[in-house]
Amino acid sequence: MAKSHIKMTVNGKAVEELVEPRTLLIHFLREQLSLTGPHIGCETSHCGACTVDLDGKSVKSCTMFAVQADGADIRTIEGMANADGTLHALQEGFREMHGLQCGFCTPGMILRAYRLLQENKNPSEEEIRYGISGNLCRCTGYQNIVKAIQYAAAKIAGVPFQEAAE
């Protein structure tokens, strides 16, 4: 099968590659660009571990061909830290609030939460839970994931984070 020539921006860098049309975006990112932050979990569009940000949308990169992403602007967990190397507010929130246990779902959770906070700067707990409903945490650590996202929302807004009473 003839390969297709694709161009895109990944984490701010221009990328030009040849791909087989059947190459899934997750395989392209991991194997061709060596960006192994996006994880392969279920491979059936359920778990969200492969979530990346693509042209302002949260996308499951296991359910898209790399050729469909031709011309796109993509961000993965590798592109989340600030330019000076400090952590993004979401990364900091996941660390401070213990938002990860095994860490497998974390890159997808953070990329999904990134888009959620772009669209809704101050989400309620319910909105966060609904917003991350396409991401599964097999450690079932949702409580602290929600707190981590609330921490990040507060940090981005420049207000002190107050943990809700349990």
């Binding site: 099968m1 003839a2 297709s4 087989e20 049309p21 059947r22 899934l24 395989h27 491979e43 059936t44 569009s45 359920h46 969200g48 979530t51 949308k57 949260s58 996308v59 499951k60 359910t63 898209m64 061909f65 050729v67 469909q68 999904r112 959620l116 609904y130 917003g131 991350i132 409903s133 396409g134």
Partner: protein, 288 residues
Amino acid sequence: MIPGSFSYHRPTSVQEAVGLLTKLGDDGRALAGGHSLIPMMKLRLATPANLVDLAGIADLKGIRADGNDIVIGAMTTQHDVIGSDLLGTKIPILRETSLQVADPQVRYVGTLGGNVANGDPGNDMPAVMLCLNATYHVTGKGGERRIAAREFYQGAYFTALEAGDVLTAVRIPVPAAGHGSAYEKLKRKIGDYATAAAAVVLTMSGGKVASCSIGLTNVAETPLWAEEAAKILTGSTLDAATVKKAVAAAEAITAPATDARGPAHYRTKMAGVMLARALARAKAKARG
């Protein structure tokens, strides 16, 4: 899971897409959002030799009013449907249904056209389209034609679409101002297809049902339009006895499969429960 090899085409006009799909025949498939097709390709349940990606066709996007209808381009995503103030005001059942389709990531990419054209009885939008009496715009080798949603579904994955056809838009007559609507979906978890679901659009006048339309999801090989049940309800106050009769009429037309979502008789009963809930909620929202 890696799909079989295929050639990728990205036409920029409907005409070009129809030309390609006509020429390719059984070797070609249209690709919309891909969130039904790509999983099937990964399982090798679908092995098209050619994919014709509709994403590059600008004409297939957008939501516009046209007289008393709203026309939604086939490549409009569920996320776009949710974000549309026009639809939220005029046909709120669409936003309500889109919010129950899969999960946020899928809704950013999955399209309305793909959802209705695929013919999967598990998809939520087809029953809503039967309920709303939508019409599908289809372009094929003979030009454009329109097919009523109520005539479109023939069996699981079998529709009125023929080789070379592209479903380009969905046309929906705007329900009367003051109507009430609801989509009630029973599912095991977020992202699941319905165990059973019911769509209701009704109008009330003087405390009685003036008009009523009902669609049912995933309780037969095709979405169902429950015409008899709606007739029973029309003219009633939605009193318990009449609702019970209508629910029985709706249950009678179901023929669900026994599967992981439950045995057939359970799914039939759940269709009835979803209908009763949707009726109550639609009535509460209706004026008149």
